[in-house]
């Protein structure tokens, strides 16, 4: 870490983005006491993690990036034990275990040992485990990494519901689309430094250009010429069109219609996070050299 100054407001849905090795997991490790910090100060809901460590930790639930379940323990016991570590009496812990296992569709597997669950089930179990003591802040470290799209969308819906209920959520992810869909505010971290910290809307608006892949009804033998656009032919039915922030999609469609080309489907090509990230790194480098 190279001096991070970050404030997440209560009730926020906050994204912490960055490439591998940027320091996201280290930041989370420091907040949750899994990593020793060498200096600096962190407070959670006004509770200093150095002087009021236990009280601060009582407010936090964490879903780590790596699976860290006791694979020899029964699914239900994992939740009951976790609740116990936060002082939830056993009868109440069992009630909550049932509630969260049902909510995450794991109730039928309550007597299975964790080792026998699928990868997606283990991820859901880790989310249930982070919620069972009903924390005010949940930190999710790349919770959707490696899960299929159906589970990912279900997780998104769950996270939205939790945030709407008043829970503060910090989400780290590789995917800008995921953060854009869920989060109101965002910080981008690189090499232990915060290189951007703003509202999601303002950060996304900094994307200067975007590349779309268009599927056309017409068969093409060569790249169609569209005035004012950079076009590449991908195959006989697909083209890539780069559109700058100043242009609108309506203008592009108008140009295509004038050429008698009909669009049947469209998607973005570029990794928007990568593009945004590279732009931010370039601008910081430029600032540094001036």
């Amino acid at each position: 870490m190279k001096g991070i100054d970050l404030v997440v407001r209560e009730g926020d849905f906050f994204a912490l983005l960055g490439p591998n090795g940027a320091g996201k997991t280290t930041v989370i490790g420091i907040i949750t006491s899994l990593v020793n910090k060498t200096r600096g100060r962190i407070s959670v809901f006004g509770l200093d993690i150095d002087t009021q460590r236990e009280a601060a930790k009582a407010c936090i639930g964490v879903v780590p990036q790596e699976i860290n379940l006791n694979i020899f323990e029964k699914t239900a016991n994992i939740l009951v034990n976790q609740a116990g570590y936060y002082g939830v009496p056993r009868a109440e812990a069992q009630r909550r275990a049932e509630k969260y296992l049902k909510a995450l569709h794991l109730w039928d597997r309550r007597d299975d040992i964790a080792r026998n669950l699928s990868g997606g089930m283990k991820r859901r179990l880790m989310i249930a485990r982070a919620l069972v003591h009903e924390p005010r802040l949940v930190i999710l470290d790349e919770p959707t990494a490696g899960v299929d799209i159906e589970i990912r969308r279900s997780m998104w819906a769950l996270m939205r519901a939790l945030n709407e209920s008043g829970m503060t959520i910090i989400l780290t992810t590789h995917y800008l689309e995921e953060a854009e869909s869920l989060c109101r505010n965002i910080a981008i971290i690189d090499e232990g430094r915060i290189i951007e910290n703003d509202s999601m809307a303002r950060v996304v608006s900094k994307l200067q250009r975007e590349v779309f892949v268009l599927t056309l009804q017409e068969r093409m033998d060569s790249t169609p010429e569209l005035d004012g656009y950079d076009v590449k032919l991908r195959n006989e039915h697909e083209i890539e069109v780069e559109i700058t922030k100043e242009r609108t999609l309506n203008e592009l469609f108008g140009t295509l219609s004038a050429k008698a080309l009909h669009v049947t489907s469209m998607r973005t090509r570029s990794n928007r996070l990568e593009e945004l990230f590279m732009r931010l790194v370039d601008s910081k480098t430029a600032e540094g050299s001036q």
Binding site: L69, N77, I78
Partner: protein, 277 residues
């Protein structure tokens, strides 16, 4: 998975500091860790309870019934009766150490120790939970070995309080020792080094099978450096009423071992040695 979004989000209080009763958290947390540890012992009873019973039965057959009959009396009691307290203590030492070292190291290896590390439990509570788990296994195995011993010799308890306090303190000492080993261990080899190269020799040379009065003065002086000698003899005093060493000295050494080990383990866990990046 289609209905995964049907979770009714938990009722949350926002805008004010959380109410946290740390005493309650640590009490419930302590009970939870002990329950988890005891469940683990029971769940894998074939690994935790049965082997020491079989090993000790073999010791009683070979050293007690077969060889012991030729040895005759030792310290005024039949040899089988003489070794019974030592064998019970050997089982306590091995099992309390083994329980904690394997459970804590497994938590480190599979990272589920993080479940406790991110929780508000104090370091003292985590240590106490694991140690009580080790003590419970040590005492359970001790009870089983005692039953086995009763098939081979007549057992008596001359000083019940001394017997019970020494066995509990010894189990506590070696549970803490197991925890210390687990904190430093980075792989499975490192959790077997101490039991193999330190515990086993000290236990066998700690007066389980012989009275140190049989040794030459020089070897007696060396033997008295071994803390297990004091534990075995104090326990033997509690059961048979005879001991090679002063009972007060034995208590002082055992209690000192508990305090020093607890302080060391607390210091290491509090600063995150072996468990935090």
């Amino acid at each position: 998975m289609a209905e995964l979004n049907s979770l009714s989000a938990p009722p949350l209080t926002t805008g004010r500091a959380p109410e946290t009763n740390l005493l309650k958290i640590n009490l419930v947390g302590f009970i939870t860790i002990v329950r988890k540890e005891v469940n683990r012992v029971v769940r894998i009873w074939v690994q935790t309870i049965v082997p020491p019973a079989i090993t000790m039965t073999l010791y009683f057959i070979i050293f007690g019934s077969l060889i012991g009959q030729r040895i005759g009396a030792m310290d005024g009691v039949p040899y089988t009766q003489f070794i019974a307290p030592g064998l019970i203590m050997m089982a306590v030492i091995t099992n309390s150490f083994g329980n904690v070292v394997s459970s804590f190291f497994s938590g480190k290896l599979h990272h589920h120790l993080e479940e406790m590390l991110v929780s508000p439990l104090s370091v003292g509570t985590i240590i106490a939970g694991y140690v009580v788990g080790g003590v419970v296994r040590g005492l359970a195995v001790a009870a089983l070995v005692t039953v086995v011993a009763m098939f081979f010799t007549e057992l008596r308890v001359e000083h019940p309080l001394i017997t019970i306090s020494v066995v509990v303190l010894t189990a506590t000492t070696f549970s803490l020792g197991g925890l210390l080993n687990a904190i430093f261990a980075k792989n499975f080899d490192e959790i077997s080094i101490i039991p193999t190269f330190v515990l086993a020799p000290l236990t066998y040379l700690g007066g389980v099978f012989f009275s140190i009065s049989m040794l030459s003065p020089g070897w007696q002086a060396i033997a008295q450096v071994n803390p297990i000698l004091y534990m075995v003899n104090a326990f033997r005093f509690g059961m048979l009423g005879s001991s090679d060493i002063a009972i007060g000295t034995a208590y002082m050494i055992i209690v000192t071992a508990v305090v020093v080990l607890f302080a060391t383990v607390f210091y290491l866990l509090d600063r995150g040695s072996g468990i935090r990046a």
